[in-house]
Symmetry: D2
Subunit: 369 residues, 4 copies
Amino acid sequence: MLGVGLIGTGFMGKCHALAWNSVRAVFGDVPAVQLVHLGETNTELAVRRANEFGFQKASGDWRAVIDDPQVDVVSIATPNQFHPEMAIAALKAGKHVWCEKPMAPTFSDAEAMLAAAKQSGKVAALGYNYIQGPAIRHIRKLLAEKIIGDINHLRIEMDEDFMADPNALFNWKHEATSGYGALDDFAVHPLSLLFTLFGRVSRVMCDMSKPYATRKTANGTDRAVETYDSASVLMRMENGVAGTLQANRSAWGRKGRIALQIFGSKGSILFDQERANEFQLYVTADRATEQGYRTILTAPHHEPYGQFIPAPGHGLGFNDLKIIECRELIKRINGQPAHLIEFADGLEIERTVHAMARSYQEQRWVDVR
Amino acid sequence: MLGVGLIGTGFMGKCHALAWNSVRAVFGDVPAVQLVHLGETNTELAVRRANEFGFQKASGDWRAVIDDPQVDVVSIATPNQFHPEMAIAALKAGKHVWCEKPMAPTFSDAEAMLAAAKQSGKVAALGYNYIQGPAIRHIRKLLAEKIIGDINHLRIEMDEDFMADPNALFNWKHEATSGYGALDDFAVHPLSLLFTLFGRVSRVMCDMSKPYATRKTANGTDRAVETYDSASVLMRMENGVAGTLQANRSAWGRKGRIALQIFGSKGSILFDQERANEFQLYVTADRATEQGYRTILTAPHHEPYGQFIPAPGHGLGFNDLKIIECRELIKRINGQPAHLIEFADGLEIERTVHAMARSYQEQRWVDVR
Amino acid sequence: MLGVGLIGTGFMGKCHALAWNSVRAVFGDVPAVQLVHLGETNTELAVRRANEFGFQKASGDWRAVIDDPQVDVVSIATPNQFHPEMAIAALKAGKHVWCEKPMAPTFSDAEAMLAAAKQSGKVAALGYNYIQGPAIRHIRKLLAEKIIGDINHLRIEMDEDFMADPNALFNWKHEATSGYGALDDFAVHPLSLLFTLFGRVSRVMCDMSKPYATRKTANGTDRAVETYDSASVLMRMENGVAGTLQANRSAWGRKGRIALQIFGSKGSILFDQERANEFQLYVTADRATEQGYRTILTAPHHEPYGQFIPAPGHGLGFNDLKIIECRELIKRINGQPAHLIEFADGLEIERTVHAMARSYQEQRWVDVR
Amino acid sequence: MLGVGLIGTGFMGKCHALAWNSVRAVFGDVPAVQLVHLGETNTELAVRRANEFGFQKASGDWRAVIDDPQVDVVSIATPNQFHPEMAIAALKAGKHVWCEKPMAPTFSDAEAMLAAAKQSGKVAALGYNYIQGPAIRHIRKLLAEKIIGDINHLRIEMDEDFMADPNALFNWKHEATSGYGALDDFAVHPLSLLFTLFGRVSRVMCDMSKPYATRKTANGTDRAVETYDSASVLMRMENGVAGTLQANRSAWGRKGRIALQIFGSKGSILFDQERANEFQLYVTADRATEQGYRTILTAPHHEPYGQFIPAPGHGLGFNDLKIIECRELIKRINGQPAHLIEFADGLEIERTVHAMARSYQEQRWVDVR
Ligand SMILES: NC(=O)C1=CN([C@@H]2O[C@H](COP(=O)(O)OP(=O)(O)OC[C@H]3O[C@@H](n4cnc5c(N)ncnc54)[C@H](O)[C@@H]3O)[C@@H](O)[C@H]2O)C=CC1
Ligand SMILES: NC(=O)C1=CN([C@@H]2O[C@H](COP(=O)(O)OP(=O)(O)OC[C@H]3O[C@@H](n4cnc5c(N)ncnc54)[C@H](O)[C@@H]3O)[C@@H](O)[C@H]2O)C=CC1
Ligand SMILES: NC(=O)C1=CN([C@@H]2O[C@H](COP(=O)(O)OP(=O)(O)OC[C@H]3O[C@@H](n4cnc5c(N)ncnc54)[C@H](O)[C@@H]3O)[C@@H](O)[C@H]2O)C=CC1
Ligand SMILES: NC(=O)C1=CN([C@@H]2O[C@H](COP(=O)(O)OP(=O)(O)OC[C@H]3O[C@@H](n4cnc5c(N)ncnc54)[C@H](O)[C@@H]3O)[C@@H](O)[C@H]2O)C=CC1
């Protein structure tokens, strides 16, 4: 029996709640889960959501969740600035932590979180769900068995259009205090994929740009935009492979694109999160006249698709990624090997992002470490 | 509070369990759901699954589920031949019924089921989940507002390849006692889509074929295959529109294809369940030089996608369809209008399938009614 | 040296002219071609086009072309109703004939054409260019080597939208005298593909429909449309394979679609003329976890692509099909084996179309022969 | 009447020959073309090709072509190192020049070519055919009318796999004397597109890499590869727009990919040369619930598609691009405005490529001018 606390019930909070609700029914091989305590900004909201999500208790103060002795693990699904305080408090209270990505707005806070995790001896994992999809997991397996030989070039792009409207008013996301822009909003996700598929990044050279220099404020005046919606990065992996990473949160038409191109000595692999239930494989082992990208639909033989659906080509959804992540977390809590980004790797992802930003500021290649 | 019983825990049984588990967390607007009683073929299995799925009680006899006074609604997710007996018993016991499609192997059994439903005054719904997807629901809305004008032609295809291997041994699906073949396995799903999008079918002309005339039995002898893996149907809708319906369960390469082509006087719409998170729209309202099929990714504004995910293009999965269906069922139980195929419509779907089969046997056009 | 005559300089006439102009430069292995004589409806137009296309002589009377002793082969690219008279006259004059498809509006005229061809001993070929594409030719080769095993099901669709506008005025294509509609406009092309890939059709069951029952005439009155823009056909091939053929010339959004689905015991093949420079292959010989449709781009190893371009994936165009056809014609004239639809096969294509029409009229399955 | 000389009859030489052969038949509005003189490395080959391509004279010495008084314009389709000498000689001889891209291996040679062109007063154009496709031309029109608003971000990739095989032996393309690698082989083409669509590049930051550090020579020893098959470039356009350009000639699976992503304030446009007969447009002018990328098939209303084919969606081929380019050249020779990359722009393209190489060598941002 695992007692669960949840803080935050927005996009990701609900996603965590759904995952906790379903993980045992989907996987069978995990212990029973008890939804113990839900925290929100006020009691009324907390009670309403606890009711909907099936939590037993509800508090308007997140500390009550962390202090609850029945809670073994805490889902932290609040805005980034709250992660350090909440995660460190939870770890100190002896709870396992499942914190949404990224770790923290500042690198030193992220470092403090890792330190707290180490000290606690508890599991401290991050919500990098895109590494959990059956297609990505299978690609990882294929790379390991060198189906496309030795990798020699990588490209990854993450694009959405939620900031693309030039007529949207100036908001906090346009202030420098919110971070760099596309880099911290998006680059961390592609990095989580790169880390699990290929290892860490060693050097980066980054350019950033703003689609709209100014935006209207609510009172009709123009205000200079301080963050960069677009970032493009040349990079070298620690294993020597060259590649590029691009992120754009003002890319009209893109909704949830994370497009990966992997080139090797014997073939190549393509993937796009907007069509996450398929990936493309090109192998030179095929006869020359019939070589072409295979569009492979995910199926029960692509783990852990089969735990959700016994028939191929029927498709998982975005929320299912969280269920898979949840099961990995539980395995990890139980001392089993797990496919998960924990605070140590999470810190390296953030180190890489900060190196990218520094590279842009200094207009030069920067070593990540 | 709604007390739930579940019979059968295979592909669909698990899918129902997941739906019951999540429906309130996803939608918020439904009453609390209590997983009361689970039935399986034996107690051991029933207990194990009840444990995993979160049911309070478990029985090796499905009648115990139906007789449980705490159970308000029964999910029937057993093989087709059990549907009539179980559904009728449940209705007689005063339970609402959520029965997997199709209703029954024989038409008379299906009629009896409808009769029982009418007599009981309870809700009796069928598991036609493909009508629930946000893309299909939005297409329905677009057709209603005549975005592509008056419909004049339809094509629908449903293809998978689970029977495509000629070396697979003869099994019960190859016996005539199991039904017609592709017609009852598959045709009902496209018909559920046609019914909700366009109305009923009036006339059909059907051809059927067998990819493999014989199959090996376990003891190595050849045995004649009695069912038809492929069916192709010319048809007229009650509203006069002409179209075709094709189904093939031996179509190598197809995994979960339900491909719809709808042509109207002002445009056309395409959909394929293998890429269920998008659909294609062509409208002549666009300037001629830029007319083309728009690939529209599902998003929060395509109901009820937003209840699952607040961001566009992230994608629902197959199991999410059941959650949507479950909420419609609950709405219906609560006396609200619902988007659901109930026994009355289900019977018409089956009437249509039987008319198709008769058309093939008699090699002529057959009026459905 | 081959002397060429051309009658008609519209869509296809120009296409023939381009083919004659380029065939030797592309293939090298054909004799020199002399553009001798061009015929059009009047001298002025004939002279202008002869000038543009590079013909030496021009006449306002097509008989002059046929009677020209320097002319060895005549391209007939006029509307269908002129084919019989022109082709028969040309054959009688001892010329080879390259006549656009279909042979003739009536079956008896087509029969007369074949008789004239036989009597003349000259080559009499038809303009079924879609069988010439490198993708289709390669598919033919793959089928012959049974890469997808034994074929068991076929689907072919040909759709365009040039008749889709309900506000377009009534014209001659809406009169019954112009033929059946989609059947003769379109069905012949898919049939040419079926014939070369699989052989002839033995039985057909056809439905036809009209998207718009009436159309406005120039003077504003409504007039009943007499032809059928859409035709759907159940069929059996002579080799026993079952399939369907559909044609629709009012299918908004479709521009040059000829979509082929071929299912066999070991895989399947897809092709769509709108993306003619690629085709899709699924084979069960691939490892199960990586089975998927390969999108194969045409390349020099797909004959005769390499005669046009030495680099893969660069793409041929529609007009290049005619150049290939032209070279096949020349090979045939030179007594070599050629991949070409000649009058004998052309007549069978038309026999099949007429059988389809009869099937619709009589609402029953019809044997083609 | 325009007298044509052609030097070189390989990939591009044949392509030029086909273009000269067809340009008048396709466009009608150009003067008669006379294929006068063909030059090759030896007389035998020259005669053979002249015969095939329809040239009147043939020489084993290219100077004879240039000196031929009947020749007005010379197509230069020889390897890059010959371009300067041949082009300058032709211009000095008072001929117009149509030289394949790029201008020359060294920048100073390219400068000399431009100087010669200026001095001659003759037309000196380059073979940047990808700017000629109807899709690209229409995109240019759409950008000009600001259908996607103000451009704010660009990405362009050009990838093929002809150098991807690690087992292919060391050849001259691996020697530094052949150039930089992907940069000069490929980057010029994307630059030609960027120049015509958006203007010139102002600053670049380039990374290059080698998929295979060594290759086997014919005698079995390993030799270090000196060129870079992959190049990735951060860049700023003169108009301030940020973007990236990537080129990879060892990208398994890519055959003729030139993929363009253009993001603007009101939408975006995608194009890929591997499917050159279509492009994708996303516009925010569409109703929100139906926004999506439109796949627009080229058609007669996309100039000059209609000169080739009067029906939409039938598709042009790679060789047709050269016919369009040829007609632009002729228009230019006739003093009309033309859509063509001439030596002045060609030099800027090469200046940009050299700046990219310098940026890599010096590991810093470099101003192009
Ligand atoms: N893994 C993924 O794919 C995604 C991760 N995220 C991450 O999830 C986190 C949350 O983002 P969203 O869910 O999109 O935000 P949201 O704004 O939808 O939800 C935030 C929730 O936190 C609650 N909250 C705020 N302050 C609180 C406090 N002091 N105590 C208790 N509750 C508090 C809010 O009331 C709200 O329910 C962020 O770190 C974000 O980066 C977000 C979207 C996708
Ligand atoms: N809506 C959809 O998309 C789909 C619907 N179905 C329908 O769902 C139904 C079940 O099919 P699957 O789940 O694929 O079958 P399955 O074989 O995976 O599961 C059947 C379950 O019923 C149980 N069962 C059998 N007899 C029983 C009895 N007498 N008492 C209690 N439990 C019993 C079995 O032990 C098993 O757990 C069928 O009617 C099928 O047509 C199946 C797949 C997809
Ligand atoms: N193979 C293919 O893919 C296609 C074949 N076709 C076939 O090509 C034939 C011609 O069709 P289109 O070129 O589209 O028609 P079109 O209307 O574009 O051209 C017909 C030409 O024939 C000329 N013509 C008419 N009567 C004549 C006469 N008595 N003497 C001399 N010239 C005469 C017209 O002036 C015109 O130039 C038809 O049989 C059609 O079915 C058409 C389009 C595509
Ligand atoms: N625009 C485009 O898309 C493309 C442009 N090119 C360009 O075209 C040019 C030629 O390349 P390819 O045709 O691929 O090469 P290729 O090797 O196929 O043909 C070169 C031809 O030049 C001839 N040649 C060589 N030296 C000669 C001399 N001294 N005198 C007369 N003839 C001579 C050769 O015999 C051969 O026929 C290059 O500059 C290349 O960059 C090449 C491919 C595509």
